[in-house]
Subunit: 205 residues, 2 copies
């Protein structure tokens, strides 16, 4: 059984991760399992356990932490939120790709535990257009330029931890790039080699 | 200036590297520079220097070896054949992608000197179909099976040195996969990061 690909989409806040994720899941030629978070907060009306979240007690969540099952977690307004490893592992083992949309801090924690994922950094189009906008003219206020350069520099530092940089110039372009990445990740030798080796070992028995 | 991608296509002999390369260069939406080899043999009628080969004297070729300019080379029927680094470097620096089709031994030598390339291993469809063909039936002669398994195992060992495995089931499929790989390689952070850093440094001056 060919293992699925873990796709992690992250990027600076406000870059449009949620919009890209929604557009991606509307595509008809993909079959990603969305990574379902675990939380101790109460379900809201209409929310389903195992669909919107895994709803658990505080005790259960802390047991998951203690057993090393949380790829990342945080406490927010008195409730835990996190990404359980078992669900992702089982889905990947079944051959299905898993998609995780997460902010930068969480992504880095996930990467430590699952480095085999495809880590995609969504960049603002500004970063790409920055040079033309700023260097080209030279008419803007130095304070404005400095602030933009600082923001861009900090985003570039974040990007260095990822495998891919996808510019979110147009949502449909970003979606297409992510689909291309997943297609090509399936061709990477470190993904296909275990399958070939298993095949040879099975035949050699 | 964005640096071009070095694409190295290799694979076991008889897998169809040349056929795939020819089909790839007939595509209208790519602009790869084919890596031109250097040789000491005499030009045949119609062959152009700097187009079919770089035709040089034995002395010049050996000077290139001594200066570390040969990514790989071999002597064959009294003549040198090899891949000069300067031509590839200059082309990549100009922003153009370079395509190199080469046998497995040569590819490994190139990789030692230019690990930043995208190394693609073209696999015979047999490798993929092997399991179904052999395990599924069990009607074939054990000697035949053993020989095929050994060949497959040695090809898998070669594959481990590459970045991508592309199955040559149909030439047009293999061509499309290579085009996808190049498209996605351009999104890899280790390729775009230097460009972003240079941009910030330039603005910060």
């Amino acid at each position: 059984m060919k293992r699925g690909v873990l796709i992690v989409l992250s990027g600076p806040s406000g870059v449009g991760k949620g919009t890209v994720r929604k557009a991606l899941f509307e595509e008809t030629d993909i079959d990603f399992q969305y990574s379902i978070s675990m939380t101790t907060r109460n379900p809201r009306e209409g929310e389903m356990n195992g669909e919107d979240y895994f709803f658990v007690t505080r005790e259960e969540f802390e047991k998951n932490i203690a057993e090393g099952n949380m790829l990342e977690y945080a406490e927010y307004v008195g409730n835990y939120y996190g990404t359980p490893k078992t669900f992702i592992d089982d889905t990947l083992a079944s051959g299905r790709d898993v998609f995780l949309e997460i902010e930068v801090q969480g992504a880095l924690q996930v990467k430590e535990k699952m480095p085999e994922g495809a880590y995609i950094f969504l960049t603002p189009p500004d970063l790409d257009a920055l040079k033309e906008r700023l260097v080209g003219r030279g008419t803007e206020d130095m304070d404005v330029i400095d602030k933009r350069v600082n923001t861009a520099a900090s985003e570039i530092r974040m990007m260095a931890n990822y495998d891919y940089a996808v510019v979110n110039d147009e949502v449909e372009n970003a979606v297409q790039r992510i689909k291309d990445i997943v297609k090509v990740e399936r061709l990477r030798v470190n993904r296909v080699l275990p399958e070939y080796i298993a095949m040879i070992e099975e035949i050699d028995k």
